[in-house]
């Protein structure tokens, strides 16, 4: 504590001691100049954001909960620690260090420039000051450690996700270079590091300079880093006067660096301090499962020009810290497609900065008319937009709440509106419009798969049912998936469930049509199904298809269809819990489970399927990428309808290879008809056909419910 004989009010930080009036004047002029530059920068950025379109479903009533969630997320660094714990923790060091140092400096201003002159309040001495010193030392140490780690990570660890090479451009393109970002990254780290280091040096120099003042010298170990530096300075021969001169020099260096940093915040990556928080606050937590409802009568259905983009997305574009988590998670990027979700965000940022101004605001009218899609510098290329599977891996992992999925979807809506798409996709959409299914089959054939069942499924259009089963296209028309549909029907039948289907009355639910960007067709399909369902009497909807599940549950309500919708796996789990189905025997297989994006990441259905697997007795070995980090089968976003160009790796092949790494694997268990189609194909093309099978969870369960010997696994030749 404070040594006896020292007046506690003397134990304080000397601030402007020995400063001549002109020095003080220069300091205040510079400080006010920096504040003004900061304010101008904030104005310029807000001008940019306000050029975007307003009002995208942000409920203000929700604001309290949102603020709390944002505060919690920032305080816990929850999103930053995901899939990169060390970087997340060390970022927390920097964050907390910076915050405390900033608050510390702010309290100085508070006393010196506000409370002191106004009401004569002086609190900044005595014990409070000593504790303050200790806290600042800890904060500064953490801050510097964090920064050093980040430098080490960038300079030596070099994780691939921090490689800024753009998959959507070639080195010949004018907008290929990311040099500016690289320079900025290092300048940012160095500036902060120098501010931290000069702060400590300053503290040491001050101690040596004032070594004869016991109020300073005898309490120096409350700032242990400064005290050690002081010892060092003395050891190399610094006298009080020499240290005084050093202190004056360091004081100015530290002060100018810190003030300059503040002035530059709005113009550099440092702005993420504010934009990341704003982005998280404004984000739509439903973004990946619920796309925005398009107004078919408006002049535009999608994003064509900069001014069409929602303001929120412009803030998000500035919030991106290029952390690369989305880039790493993106299956299209991993398979070599010309898409990185990070570059999708940065493209928007660059386009907004170029046309609306980053430093000097540019006229809105011209800026808003800047085109977004095309082959010119700074525009989104159609092939980039078409590469996306709308799998949500990017948006789900983004620590600052960027919504890549709806952004890409809004851009695709423009491509669809202009009729620019792969001919195969055109044919499929044409078929969906004509026949109500993507197989271009007659409507009449939809229920054909039921013909081989030993019982008749109720027609929900004609009689009331408890459970309405929405079958979906792949489960109705694809021969391999028809087997699964029949297995599910048998389970429901033997469990005594009162269920029915819509027969020819069903049309495709439209989830993927919407994800392609064909909003008009989606709405027509949804309205058709909603009207059909409106004439039926049922209590709940069940589907084996996660895509239908997603849109029925999350998107149909926008068009007036609100139902109690469950995925088959959750429903079967319920039946098991109620004792309506009981496994008759244990299956002796080693399996792995592929989380379908639409059930897992989009709707958090991770556990029910695993509980069912456990009930069958199989041994579940998880793949490296599972649950929230599951890797798309490649079929999402309408890509199931577009053949991969020859010579490219298929997204599904990467997944099949990952499964193949599991020793002694008998089956790759899927839980979605499209995953079945994609992964069965990928297992064949990777030559793993003889190593393991692709099975549906429902099939496996049906197997376990049957008392007799399993027929599924040994009969390799039967499925093909």
């Amino acid at each position: 504590m404070i040594p006896s004989g020292i007046d506690p009010s003397k134990v304080t930080r000397i601030l402007f001691q020995d400063f001549s009036p002109w020095m003080l004047a220069i300091f205040y002029v510079y400080a006010i100049g920096c504040m003004a530059a900061f304010a101008w920068g904030v104005y310029a950025q807000v001008h940019k954001y306000r050029a975007g379109r307003r009002g995208t479903r942000l409920a203000w009533g929700d604001i309290g909960r949102r603020l709390l969630d944002t505060a919690k997320t920032i305080a816990s660094h929850r999103t930053l620690r995901r899939r990169d714990t060390t970087a997340g923790r060390l970022h927390a060091f920097i964050f907390y260090g910076f915050t405390l140092l900033f608050i510390g400096t702010a309290t100085i201003t508070l006393q010196e420039d506000i409370l002191g002159p106004l009401i004569g309040l002086e609190f900044w001495h005595g014990h409070f000051y000593l504790l303050f010193k200790l806290t600042m030392t800890l904060a500064g140490t953490g801050f510097i450690c964090g920064l050093l780690y980040m430098m080490w990570r960038r300079g030596w660890l070099k994780p691939p996700k921090l490689d800024y090479a753009r998959p959507d451009r070639t080195p010949q393109d004018a907008d290929f270079s990311r040099e500016r970002y690289r320079i900025e990254d290092w300048a940012f780290l160095w500036t902060l590091l120098l501010i931290g280091i000069t702060g400590f040096l300053l503290s040491g120099a001050r101690m040596v300079w004032l070594q004869n003042d016991p109020a300073v010298w005898d309490t120096r170990w409350w700032a242990p880093v400064g005290a050690s530096i002081a010892a060092g300075l003395k050891a190399v021969g610094f006298t009080s006067a020499g240290a005084g001169a050093l202190r004056m020099g360091l004081w100015w260096l530290h002060g100018v660096l810190a003030l300059t940093f503040i002035a530059l915040i709005p113009y550099t990556k440092a702005k993420h301090i504010f934009t990341a928080a704003a982005s998280w606050l404004l984000r739509n937590p439903e973004a990946i499962r619920h796309l925005p409802l398009g107004d078919l009568d408006a002049d535009r259905i999608g994003y064509r020009e900069l001014g069409d983009v929602a303001s929120r997305y412009l803030v998000q574009a500035d919030a991106c810290t290029k952390c690369g988590r989305c880039h790493e998670a993106c299956p299209a990027r991993a398979a070599g497609y010309p898409l990185s979700p990070r570059d999708v965000v940065l493209t928007l940022r660059e386009q907004a900065n170029t046309h609306l101004g980053e430093v000097l605001p540019k006229p809105r009218a011209a800026g808003c008319a800047a085109p977004l899609i095309g082959l010119a510098t700074g525009e989104y290329r159609p092939e980039t937009l078409w590469s996306c599977r709308q799998c949500g891996a990017c948006t789900e992992i983004c620590p600052v709440g960027v919504e890549h999925v709806p952004l890409i979807n809004m851009l695709r809506r423009t491509l669809v509106d202009e009729g620019e798409m792969d001919p195969a996709l055109q044919r499929t959409l044409g078929a969906v419009n004509k026949t109500g299914n993507c197989f271009n089959e007659s409507r009449r054939k939809r229920p054909n798969w039921t013909k081989d069942l030993p019982f008749k499924i109720k027609d929900a259009r004609k009689e009331p049912v408890d459970v309405l089963w929405f079958v979906g296209d792949y489960a109705s028309f694809d021969p391999r998936n028809q087997k699964v549909s029949r297995a599910f029907a048998r389970i429901l039948h033997s469990a005594g469930i009162d269920f029915g289907i819509l027969y020819e009355g069903e049309t495709t639910a439209g989830n993927d049509v919407r994800r392609v960007g064909e909003e008009g067709l989606f709405q027509q399909l949804a309205e058709g199904n909603i009207s059909t369902l409106g004439d039926c009497s049922f209590n709940r909807i069940v589907t084996t298809d996660p895509h239908s599940f997603n849109t029925l549950k999350n998107e149909y309500p926008d068009l007036g269809g609100t139902y109690d919708v469950s995925h088959a796996s959750a429903f079967l789990k319920e039946l098991m819990a109620d004792g309506r189905i009981t496994p008759a025997r244990k299956l002796d297989f080693t399996v792995t489970y592929h989380d379908p994006c639409h059930l897992g990441r989009l709707n958090k259905g991770y556990d029910a399927p695993r509980e069912l697997l456990a009930a069958t007795g199989v041994k579940l070995v998880e793949m490296g990428k599972s649950r929230d980090n599951s890797f798309c089968c490649g079929g999402g976003g309408g890509r199931v309808w577009v053949p991969d160009p020859p010579g490219t790796t298929k997204v599904g092949e990467i997944r099949a290879r990952e499964a193949a790494e599991i020793h002694g694997l008998d089956a790759l268990v899927v839980n979605c008809p499209k995953c079945m189609t994609m992964l069965e194909d990928a297992v064949k093309t990777t030559g793993n056909e003889r190593n393991f099978r692709v099975l549906e969870l429902t099939e496996l369960l049906a197997e376990a419910l049957e008392p007799e010997e399993p027929a599924v696994l040994p009969a390799h030749a039967e499925v093909g």
Partner: protein
């Protein structure tokens, strides 16, 4: 300048279908209808010419002959970039063959005075491939069938076209305009008409005319103007195939059965 694109609403059959009572056509209940695929290419070729020309200098007019259900294909064509649509009602055209249909198109062409008439090379349902050429004959215009490449600047006196011949040969032809060309699949990539653009096309008017309105005399309409008549449509008897399943001995038994059946 105008480009006239006659289009057809074609039928595609279900696996199972029934014939009309008179046995001369398929019962439309068993068909799905859509814009003829060949016509999509012809339309795209017309729209591309329009888009390459100064704005407002080219008008693409689509024409179809059929009942009001056929408005759907016109809407689709409007959504894909046509500027104006005409439907000639087919009441009284029941007995029309392709020449009788060509008479209607030719009359509309005389009224509209297009610089080009672009037809699909054939219809996907009947595949006569004669309508376009009959139109040219009736008008007395230059014509080229099954065009696989088209180069034309509106206002020019000729159009440069290519046709693919046997053996990988390509024939390059200069055709005087006005001309009638029939367009082959693959000449371009037709654009997609989004549901929204089709809906918006609903707002555009479709001019509805009768064969008399376009200036045909009674003697040219329907059966009177036709040169041929469909007598019967039927599914010919086909040889039957059967895959014999079962154990080898069951298979042999079934095979013997078939042999004795065939030998009578």
């Amino acid at each position: 300048m105008k480009i006239l694109v006659p289009v057809k609403r074609v039928a595609s059959l279900d696996d199972e279908f029934e014939l009309n009572d008179d046995g001369r056509d398929v019962d439309p209940d068993f068909c799905e209808f859509d814009l003829n695929e060949f016509d999509e290419y012809a339309l795209e070729a017309a729209v591309q010419i329009k888009e390459a020309a100064p704005e407002g200098s080219v008008e693409v007019v689509v024409l179809t002959i059929g009942p009001d259900d056929a408005d759907d294909v016109l809407r689709k064509a409007l959504a894909k970039g046509a500027d104006r649509a005409i439907r000639v009602d087919d009441a009284g055209l029941e007995e029309a063959d392709r020449v009788a249909i060509a008479r209607v198109i030719a009359k509309v062409a005389e009224n509209e005075e297009p610089g080009l008439v672009l037809c699909g090379a054939q219809s996907a349902d009947q595949g006569n491939a004669q309508t376009g050429m009959s139109v040219a004959a009736l008008l007395g215009w230059a014509r080229t069938a099954v065009v696989s490449k088209l180069d034309f600047t509106p206002g020019a006196a000729t159009a440069q076209v290519e046709r693919e011949l046997e053996g990988g040969l390509v024939e390059r032809i200069e055709v005087e305009t006005p001309a009638v060309l029939t367009i082959q699949l693959g000449i371009n990539t037709p654009r997609y008409a989004s549901l929204r653009s089709i809906k918006q096309a609903n707002a555009k008017p479709i001019e509805c005319l009768t064969p008399h309105d376009v200036g045909l005399a009674d003697a040219e309409i329907g059966g009177a103007g036709a040169l041929s008549r469909v007598r019967r449509v039927f599914v010919p008897e086909r040889g039957r195939g059967e895959i014999i399943a079962g154990t080898p001995s069951q298979q042999v038994a079934r095979l013997l059965e078939i042999i004795s059946e065939v030998n009578g």
